[in-house]
Amino acid sequence: MSIEVARDELADFCCSRLCLTSRLDRTVLGTPFSYPTGEAMELAVERAGDEWIISDMGTTDGFLAERGVTWGTPAVTRVVEALRLEQRIELRNGVLQVRCRQHAFVSAIMAVAQGALAIAGAAYVPPPRMPTVEAARSRARVRTRFIDLVRDAGLAGDVDVKVEFVGRSQHKVTVAKARNVLIFAESLKQEPVRRAQAVAFELLDLPLDVRGAPEGEDAWADRLRRAACVYDPPTESADGKLREARQILDTYFEAGTFSITEESTIIDQVTQWLG
């Protein structure tokens, strides 16, 4: 294939995806761009006096929300801030938008499209793979044996043992022990933030914004001594608030993380750690 043919094919591809449709009160522009999952990017185009407003209609927010990523995630925040400074793209209640005059119309469309892609890229991790039936059975055995172990060791006597599993095939078990509560969980690096966050905050009965807690740190300390939370935040897309919560938890709890290679190995490791 010659470079001219390739150019023509690319032009056909891009042009065929450019379209204008009308949805209720606005015009929607189809673009050649798509999110990493293949969802095509559409932008809303609205007239406001002498200006145009180009927006992503919240679809980038939908992409993030589906992955449990918030706009406060550091990697996302950096991109949003750069877009605000360099392209004047604003984030309003989860909607990316830019205002422009007629002469800047095309560049504004490109800016929103590229900005949305940059944000999606910052939050994107490949979809997880489902463990095989055998792996699930193996995990179930690990779980059962682990719970038995905890009970046999007498730790479950007067101790409130809560078990929360968060994870998939090649997993780690994370254990925390506090004065009267023991909680452990298993997780993967790429476990969605949403799940880890939900576990953390459900178990701790915490509002989502730890910093906004009205009781102050002392009151949190009292509460945290009665509950522990264990999770392994994802590496790249870890939520800032989650990290912060983890730091606070680490202040009050001793936590250990163990990589599973064989059933006996993990149980031995954890038993030894639990003392």
Binding site: F13, G58, G62, A65, L188
Partner: protein, 147 residues
């Protein structure tokens, strides 16, 4: 993905949702969501989730397997670009296999305008035999009727 396992999950008719489907609008965000556990006789950790983006007037429904692995997805009105450059316009389903991790195909049998009906039709499609009450997303009933 273990394809056989995913297919067994989809074929299993013992799946049921006992809790009501209640949407929640995320603060300072553009989306409303729900997520409910799907009970089943096979003890598979499944969940059923939905997302509505009011500004774009689109919604998607998904069944997730263990570890939040997507098994089946419906999108109401969103163009999808497949990896082979084919283009699916309008309501479509997405299947997830090893060969094609996110392959879209047109879907006409699930409503793209009535979200309550779509949830029931989707549930039926993925073998959820029992479904409790279904709410509409917050402040969207009018918009959905206008779609």
């Amino acid at each position: 993905m273990d394809q056989r396992r995913a297919e067994r999950i989809l074929a299993d008719r013992s799946k049921r949702i006992r809790q009501p489907i209640t949407w929640r609008k995320l603060k300072h965000r553009a989306v409303a969501e729900f997520e409910v556990a799907v009970e089943n006789d096979r003890d598979e950790p499944l969940c059923f989730a939905g997302q509505y983006v009011p500004e774009a007037r689109i919604f998607k429904l998904q069944l997730f397997g263990e570890g939040r692995v997507p098994l089946y997805r419906f999108e109401s009105d969103k163009e999808h670009h497949n990896r082979d450059c084919s283009r699916i316009v309008g309501p479509h389903i997405n299947r997830f296999t090893d060969a094609e991790p996110n392959l879209a195909a047109p879907e006409k049998a699930i409503s793209a305008t009535d979200i309550r009906l779509a949830i029931r039709q989707f549930a039926q499609r993925v073998g959820i035999s029992e479904l409790g009450p279904v709410e509409l997303p917050p402040q969207t009933a009018l918009q959905l009727r206008l779609l």
